[in-house]
Amino acid sequence: MIPQLVTVRRRRADGRWRRLFIPVVPVALLLSPLLLLAVVGGVVACFMFDVRPLGALRGIGRVLWALPGTRFEFEEGRTALHVRIR
């Protein structure tokens, strides 16, 4: 399943948490014109660097599908950054 929600939590030096919820599918739909440009750019890059475009697309799809469950948490003193992909 592709990622549904990315949660970014940041703790400032004053101890306050800031949360950012990014719903992946709506954001991807919103940015679809840019994504289309990125795909075209990617295909051109594939031909330039002698990489199979379909293989690259499949590989990126696999990476995207495998992303849910990923979690990064960094804490340093009073500051912290937590990123979760669900």
């Binding site: 660097f49 002698d50 990489v51 199979r52 293989g55 690259a56 590989g59 696999r62 990476v63 599908w65 495998a66 992303l67 849910p68 469950g69 990923t70 979690r71 990064f72 948490e73 960094f74 804490e75 340093e76 003193g77 009073r78």
Partner: protein, 141 residues
């Protein structure tokens, strides 16, 4: 010899059951045993899903630095499969640079299947480093 099989043979020796009945009972016990042993094995060794890296470190001011990374093993597999897309020209260049740096490694010999096998066996790897101020744990769960 299992306890159940011993009991069946004792019943046969005492004449409580016939040889045919004993054979049927032993067959039933044999059918049951591999299934139950498989079940125990599967339960005790559930396949891990994530690679975890946990680092705890005391900073100079008495605070605590912490890094906690959880990466799905499926993501590692997907990343490994991306290596098959690397064009041969790039691999040749990388080989040459490695050779120049004193690492005569031929990346052509490294197959994605071997890397996948490596990931499959990661569940048995535990790295545990303990220092006075720092502890690092790498494991699968």
């Amino acid at each position: 010899m299992s306890e159940q099989r011993r009991q069946i043979l004792e019943m046969l020796a005492e004449g409580k059951i016939t040889a045919d009945e004993a054979e049927r009972l032993i067959n039933a016990v044999e059918r049951e045993q591999p299934e139950s042993s498989l079940g125990i094995g599967a339960r005790s060794k559930a396949k891990p899903k994530y690679l975890r890296v946990v680092l705890n470190s005391a900073d100079g001011s008495g605070g605590q630095d912490r890094i906690n990374v959880q990466v799905p093993l499926q993501l590692l597999r997907a990343g490994v499969r991306l290596t098959s897309l690397i064009p041969p020209r790039a691999i040749t260049l990388a080989n040459e640079e490695l050779d120049k740096s004193g690492f005569p490694i031929d990346l052509n010999e490294l197959k994605p299947q071997q890397l996948e096998e490596l990931i499959d066996h990661l569940d048995e790897v535990i790295v545990d480093i303990d220092d006075a101020d720092t502890s690092i744990r790498v494991f699968c769960e």
